[in-house]
Amino acid sequence: MRDAPDAAVVARVLGGDPEAFGVLIHRYEPELLRFAYRMLGRPDAAADAVADAFIRAYRHLAGCRDPAHLRPWLYRIVSNRCKSQLARRQRDEIPLEEAPPLADPADSDADLDRAEQLEQVEAALARLAPEQREAFVLRHVQGLSYAEMVAATGVVATTLRMRVHRAREALLAALKEFA
């Protein structure tokens, strides 16, 4: 079952074997958690969004029109959960106390540099508008094609390309500002 294609696993779940849904969780959890973490900036928020998304996906599995291409459908649900969380927040920044800690001062200079660069990149990402952040993360961090991004977001490809372009510009500008 672990190596069965998505459509077969979905059919098994809908046929009355809810435990089979665990196969899909293990298959997609790592990338969905990384996506949610890059959208929300907090591990606990990312876990909540992804858990909520999987539960919704299970309950609406019969409504998935193309079980053979489950990935964009799952991304869509997680993306909507992330947007709901972001809409409830006052500011879309990683709070400093929750930002990944810098390396221990006893670490090498190279480790300190890497930790500082990561902090700058994450701060730059957090400054992007949510739609641009989503497009950039889906395209570059998660490696989705534009066709998959259209299926995951419901937005036309030209608009997604525009958002990715604007995100690149904004990210570079922010990185130059932090440097």
Binding site: V141, L171, L172, A173
Partner: protein, 205 residues
Amino acid sequence: MTPLDPRIHQALEGEVSRDALPPELRQEVEALERAVGQLRAAPPLPSVAARVLSEIRRPRPSPARRVGRWLAAPLALTLQVRPVWTLAVVAILAAVLLTGREPGPVLGAEEGIADFVGRFPGARSVEVVGSFNDWRPGATVLRDDNHDGVWRAALVLPSGQHQYMFVVDGERWVTDPLAGRYVDDGYGSQNAVLIVRPERGGGRR
């Protein structure tokens, strides 16, 4: 925000080789690729599998019971209103009650009205997409009420600079020839630029 050289986007999309770029553009590509590499390496994140499976295994209440719970659950509504909007609402009500006339739109201190006008005889639909509606087709539709081929829409926008294009019949993106100011859109075309000035004293132009 300064648009990037289109070759940077092409290199990041794999459409041209990074090595074919001049050194200053290659540096920008490399800076973004380094950032992406760092973002791909997320810290260890706790698995949600046990939590999800536990919820899936829990027997769900019947639909009737779920509806009953939803109806019985108290709903907290939070309404945040800025004092300036409260005064605006009071002013509108006073205008309606005292004059009997329908007032014009009430604008914020830093808002103005943007008039979009385009001549597209024979078009079935015309929309305007831009930085103010996230370039989303379908968000803002123009109207040609007297069917003379001149399409119009008026929007309340924050004061400042906005970029836009017209989308004709849902597929043809057209730069407004009457805009007067333009910027390169990075796709080999140009976005029109609109400057919205705050309306002092409110009301339509």
